[in-house]
């Protein structure tokens, strides 16, 4: 019997664990960590957990992970599938302007998607982004409460 773990849970688990190990990474916490460095790492952890939770079915999650982690040289780049490539290049060649150029910039991996899957990926991306936002808000509110209590 297989139970379904929701993607929210996967994201929360991954993110929290990476937050726990935030300071151990980077030379065993040598000295103090600048807030900028720490915030960048938090951001990376957040996006990584989001991409992991989304799974490899999504084009954006794969592209996001590829962007965040160092690329392996022996893996070939994921080119668009044949029919996608024909469609994408055909649209570029015909000069059809859909106004989705800006959307392709924002959605990771959007530049090699055709319009149809671009919209689909956008929908999933928005959904996971809102999940991430809610997760982080809850964490922050909880930690803020705990800090407040401890300060008394």
């Amino acid at each position: 019997m297989k139970r379904n773990v929701s993607s929210t849970t996967i994201m929360a688990f991954h993110f929290l664990r990476s937050l726990l190990h935030l300071n151990s990474y980077g030379g065993g916490g040598g000295g103090g960590v600048s807030p900028l460095r720490r915030s960048l790492r938090i951001r990376q952890a957040a996006y990584t957990s989001m991409a992991v939770a989304a799974g490899p079915r999504r084009a954006w999650s794969t592209a996001l992970l590829r962007r965040l982690s160092p690329r392996r040289p022996h893996h070939r780049r994921a080119a668009p599938l044949r029919r996608n490539k024909i469609r994408v290049l055909g649209e570029v060649r015909r000069g059809v302007d859909d106004g989705d150029a800006a959307l392709r910039k924002v959605v990771p991996g959007g530049d090699r998607l055709d319009c149809c899957s671009l919209l689909e990926e956008t929908a999933s991306y928005i959904e996971f982004l809102s999940m991430q936002v809610e997760l982080m808000q809850r964490i922050s509110s909880r930690s803020a409460c705990i800090d407040l209590v401890r300060s008394f």
């Binding site: 297989k2 773990v5 929701s6 993607s7 929210t8 849970t9 996967i10 929360a12 688990f13 929290l16 664990r17 990476s18 937050l19 726990l20 190990h21 300071n23 151990s24 990474y25 807030p35 915030s39 938090i42 951001r43 952890a45 992991v52 490899p56 079915r57 794969t62 590829r66 982690s69 160092p70 392996r72 893996h75 994921a78 599938l81 302007d97 859909d98 106004g99 150029a101 800006a102 959307l103 924002v106 319009c115 149809c116 919209l119 689909e120 956008t122 929908a123 999933s124 928005i126 959904e127 982004l129 809102s130 991430q132 982080m136 809850r138 964490i139 922050s140 509110s141 909880r142 705990i146």
Partner: protein, 320 residues
């Protein structure tokens, strides 16, 4: 058209191997700090859910966290966080799952798609019944049913006028589905049976369907788009008062004012392909995405103090 089964399997294998490589890369291991993750993702996808559960439980029951951890939450509290989070209403995952099923179903054979049909729950309202009356049991009709359910699930709060419009649209949708089968069927009155226009119509329907999903996702979008949708699809009849978008700058009010719109102004001409005007929706989506993507960690007080110290170049409007 390539054989559907083999291409699907090849894609899956490709994704899985690549995915495992990505997940188990060094950076992620360093960040997450354990090798459990690689084993977690090394299994095939359907079973990773159970693995996730197993990993979670020993981690959370352990309670042997390092004491030098300065972040003030513990994982038991975090358990409560994500448990409460999972209880929150994410019906949108359902819609996206159905989208996924709908997309994958194209690759299945007729028998398989016929099998999917009795498993799925009965359609919610009379729209499904209309559909079952008209169309025979074919792969296209089962796909239609999934689409209908997805539409019905994604937009539960439609007013009566809109649901009437949806019914009218679904009738036309249904006749389109019969034409989609690349066999020459008697065409609906006033519609061409040219294969090109058929393919275009199929593509247009796909895009409009995804537009609708996005519409429901992006808050405040349906008001702008209802007018445009009515302009493109003559079958739709919308009764509710819509706000006519004079200018795209109206969007500036919605999200934070710091973002300059990067998109072009929408051109009023419809393209030859006949797509629904995507500019305004995309503009709204981009706006929301930019505001969401650029500020994922508004919660971090240290980040705000960092801004104060000038580490992070931002607009000077933020305060500590």
């Amino acid at each position: 058209m390539a054989t559907p089964r083999s291409s699907a399997n090849v894609n899956e294998e490709f994704f899985l191997t690549d995915w495992n490589a990505l997940i188990s890369s060094d950076k992620i291991l360093e960040i997450s700090g354990s090798s459990n993750l690689s084993s977690y993702n090394a299994r095939s996808l359907p079973s990773n859910d159970s693995m996730g559960e197993k990993i979670m439980r020993p981690c959370f029951n352990n309670q042997s966290f390092p004491d030098e951890m300065e972040s003030s939450f513990d994982l038991s509290a975090a358990c409560q966080i994500h448990v409460s989070l999972s209880h929150s209403d994410f019906t949108l995952t359902n819609s996206c799952c159905i989208e996924r099923k709908h997309k994958g179903k194209k690759r299945k054979t007729v028998s398989e798609s016929g099998r999917v049909l009795p498993q799925s729950p009965s359609p919610k309202n009379a729209e499904g019944k209309e559909q079952s009356n008209v169309s025979p049991e074919s792969s296209k009709s089962s796909r239609e049913r999934e689409e209908m359910k997805q539409i019905a699930e994604v937009s539960p709060g439609l007013s009566s006028s809109k649901s009437a419009a949806k019914q009218a649209q679904l009738i036309s949708h249904d006749s389109d589905a019969l034409k989609e089968e690349y066999i020459h069927i008697r065409a609906k009155r006033g519609q061409a049976t040219n294969s090109h226009s058929l393919a275009e119509r199929v593509r247009r329907e796909k895009i409009s369907e995804r537009m609708r999903v996005l519409q429901n996702l992006v808050p405040g979008c349906s008001k702008f788009l209802s007018m445009k949708l009515a302009a493109v699809n003559p079958e739709l009849n919308f009764d509710n008062p819509h706000i006519f978008p004079k200018d795209i700058n109206v969007l500036g009010e919605a999200a934070n004012p710091g973002r300059a719109p990067e998109f072009k102004t929408p051109n009023p001409h419809l393209h030859g392909v006949g797509q629904i005007e995507p500019e305004i929706l995309m503009a709204t989506a981009i706006h929301q995405l930019c505001s969401m993507a650029q500020t994922p960690n508004v919660w971090d007080e240290e980040l705000q103090s960092a801004v104060q110290m000038g580490f992070i170049p931002q607009s000077p409007s933020s305060d500590g």
